[in-house]
Symmetry: C2
Subunit: 537 residues, 2 copies
């Protein structure tokens, strides 16, 4: 039995037990959705790898990866261009690190679950190499290796995770991340505010719908742990349950903490009091919520909580000065799984799309995830220092080599899925190429291939986006229709008369008129001047 | 003994034998260069993996890969932008395929040598996946899988080869390729001419020096084989020797063919007559060389040669119409190693850089390679049909499913090395970021952090590339110097007086004047109008 089949059996048994136990319908529903998603992964009956004739090649991409055709790539480029522009506006330069990293560099950075998902290359007796899991750890390696301690950079690249793929919700095994990071010692909370602003700028400009930038502080969570008397050794496992509060009810999370993770019920209830402050006080804004902690008797006596609250207040003050919108909120239940965060953490969620989401056959869990987290990040002040110490071979005794760092990572695949649906819902056509002029013959009776080649060569030399039909039998009408189909605005048409006179016709594809109208002149000037500018720029 | 040490011993023995045999000095010199290059790969004494204390981490990139910092990435972006623009001018849309491909897709496409260089992922019991070796085979898989038979596309992505890296000559294990391909049935030789034109446009616009676009035809080489009476089964091994004629003398190649590859000396001499036509007739242009074949008694009776010569003449005629420069030449010794080419092949070489190459300590072989091939490609009409047939499980009986394809691949790493050296030789500084405005405080005595945050937030909102110093103690003079250092043209300066009056000073960094001079006004208008355009465009 394959691992997948085993999982299906397991979840099936679990559901039967839940039904016997008369568990809450929402929990059963969630497990059924998981079961269906697992079943969807099964190969079609009689069509799996083993039943194929051995000599027959499968024409497909590797599991969890996909191609993007010209239209899809054009939509992705809208995203990449917008995100790049915002990063550059903030003074970041681009860096590039390899897709491969030494396995040792990646180990122990992504929590227990993450570590299992790293792709290793086949061991050929040399170095042990893996595909990068994110862009943050390679960036920290870059800083430690080069002894760089001040930089504002961005990187856009694919990362790799051997995860269970859910294509409909944008979870792939190869996917693009757009990362922005600031390394260096600056005024406390100024970079936090700038990172939140950057998320705000990108999401407001994309206009995919209402969104929320949830922020929290690792120190606050640690302080709440102290106040509740929870063992620090359980910090990670408990946080991973608390982090589910955006999808599950407190009753479910509480049950998991008590029954599965075996945390004392009293401790769990105190934790709940604090991490649910926002949920229980929906009328309070972020500053009022922070003040709630300052007023609370136990919290106000805990140094970690008070330090974190003070920093968060400063971050919001700076954010306010820089123009961060009301989308930035304080969410004390936000935990995030990665090991390397040390301070403020944040995550952006699309709440309500500005368009009708396409109906896709998928479970409720998948449906939720599809409009889930689109950007996340936080402060990681220890990672670079840890690398420097690991390389020195000595035990880390101080924070001497630490380099303060903070970053954001935009998850492109979900944004892409949303943007694609938005464009479809708004019936907006994205051009998959930039062609502005098509060179055509005037009459089917006179193909003028060499002459068309001369004209198109001249246009290409002038760096104008141009096409022609390299065919011997091509109808003028077909060429006009192709231009209409592909949104090409202008045609240059040559016939025998034009050749004799050394002229060409210029045709507006929309109006099909071929005199140089005022409108054509205007378009031509824009085209040629725009091109002039591009060449000089 | 490691594989590397074995190789070194082997080449050492070979050199001793060559000296005993009184071999030609050029051959010995070449082998010594190979030996030195191999030795350079040895880890420093006492510094290899095994001698390190086990707990000590190596802060380095995987062998044969490298980081690119912000300045290097900016130089690479000049290349990527220029190449992308030319591809788009020719009406190509972008596609993206995954970095991973099923191993079966890649096998048997890259010749005996190439196949050994494919990176496999660790076998985890599922599909057997590899990193892509080039972008051509994945593109053919894309066409076959989607039943697409007409597309003009480009793709820019990294490819992976487990080759012996030579960093100084731009040979890496992970490197970027910029590919342009046309699939579809068009007028014979029109796409060949366009591909040669594209190489011509890119290299002339890059202006790295004089260059040559060498073209040949697989059919011509096959015909020469027939005329010389060489066995077709030896085609690949013989071609791989002939292909060296751009680096080695005919005497060396002849010797290799006779002594190593055991080809009959008479056959070799006939081959030499034909493949050396250009070398032996330096006064002839490409058309005259093609006519030489038409006049030659044996060649003119061979159908393969005459078909190829006819096609090449047509390609040059079309190229002429489109404006291909004299850089395009006919080189009958060009062979190229990949299995999948079926017609015209081409390769572009930088002959003489327009600047003084940096002196790098390297062997003569490496020095040659540094100004070697920067783009290559050809026609591959069978690859897509082969995939479709392999997937059908039936023997390929006809060319029914074939999709005519032709492509170019630009090797970015060599172009990058050359462009970097050119910019250095010309003392041209490339900005690693796009910042145009710096927000500064007027006096050290008044830091105005919150106020600076307000101003920078306004600029960011207006989508202007802007920076400030998020510090509490920052000197106005330091900020001006930083702007000078980083080519930031304008400063927005605020002080207590300005705050009172609700104004700001605008300072020209170059002149250090802070009145709005005519020049400042001009720059400001360009800045703001340019930005306006970008936002609307």
């Amino acid at each position: 039995m394959s691992e997948l089949e085993l999982q299906i059996t397991e979840v099936g048994n679990e559901i039967r037990q839940l039904k016997l136990d008369k568990a809450e319908p929402s929990i059963i529903k969630e497990r059924v959705a998981v079961l269906n998603a697992l079943k969807a992964q099964l190969p079609p009956a009689g069509g799996d790898d083993k039943s194929k004739p051995p000599g027959r090649m499968q024409l497909k991409t590797v599991k969890g990866t996909r191609d993007f055709d010209t239209k899809e790539s054009a939509v992705r480029n809208i995203l990449f261009d917008l995100i790049t522009r915002v990063f550059e506006n903030h003074g970041a330069g681009q860096i590039n690190t390899p897709s491969l990293e030494l396995r040792d560099i990646l180990m122990g950075k992504y929590g227990e679950e993450g570590g299992k998902l790293i792709y290793d290359l086949k061991d050929e007796g040399g170095e042990r190499a893996s595909l990068r899991y994110d862009l943050t750890v390679p960036f920290a390696r870059f800083l430690a290796q080069r002894k760089v301690n001040t930089i504002k950079k961005y990187q856009i690249a694919n990362v790799y995770r051997r995860d269970q793929p859910y294509m409909t919700k944008g979870r792939y095994r190869e996917f693009a991340q757009c990362d922005f990071d600031i390394a260096g010692a600056y005024v406390s909370m100024s970079c936090e505010a700038e990172c939140v602003l950057i998320i705000d700028e990108v999401l407001s400009q994309l206009a995919l719908g209402t969104y929320e930038i949830r922020t929290n502080h690792r120190g606050l969570l640690e302080g709440i742990f102290e106040v509740a008397g929870a063992p620090q050794s359980e910090f990670k496992v408990v946080c991973s349950s608390i982090d589910k509060l955006d999808k599950c009810s407190w009753a479910d999370v509480r049950e998991e903490l008590i029954s599965v993770k075996l945390v004392d019920a009293k401790v769990v209830d105190v934790l709940g009091e604090y991490v649910r402050v926002r949920e229980l006080n929906p009328q309070m804004n972020k500053v009022q919520l922070l003040e709630w902690f300052e007023r609370d008797e136990r919290a106000s006596k805990n140094k970690k909580i008070m330090d974190a609250v003070g920093e968060m207040k400063l971050m919001f003050e700076y954010g306010n000065a820089m123009g961060v919108s009301e989308s930035a909120v304080f969410e004390p239940s936000l935990a995030r799984g990665l090991d390397y965060y040390t301070g403020v953490i944040y995550e952006a969620i699309i709440l309500e799309p500005s368009f009708k989401l396409a109906q896709v056959e998928c479970s409720e869990e998948e449906q939720n995830a599809r409009i889930g987290s689109v950007a996340a990040g936080g402060r990681y002040d220890k990672l670079v220092g840890d690398f420097i110490h690991a390389a020195s071979g000595k035990k880390k005794a101080s924070s001497k080599n630490d380099v303060p760092c903070i970053g954001i990572s935009f998850g492109v695949e979900r944004l892409f899925t949303l943007l694609e649906q938005k464009l479809a819902a708004e019936d907006k056509k994205v051009n998959s190429k930039k062609t502005q002029v098509f060179v055509s013959n005037a009459h089917a009776s006179s193909q003028l291939l060499l002459e068309r080649m001369k004209v198109i060569g001249t246009l290409w030399k002038a760096q104008i986006c141009a096409e022609y039909a390299p065919k011997n039998k091509v109808q003028p009408l077909t060429q006009i229709r192709d231009c209409e189909e592909e949104n090409i605005p202008l045609m240059v048409v040559i016939g025998d008369d034009e050749l004799k006179n050394g002229t060409v016709q210029i045709r507006n594809v929309l109006t099909r008129e071929n005199t140089v109208s005022f409108e054509d002149l205007f378009k031509l000037l824009i085209l040629f001047l725009g091109n002039q500018k591009r060449r000089n720029g």
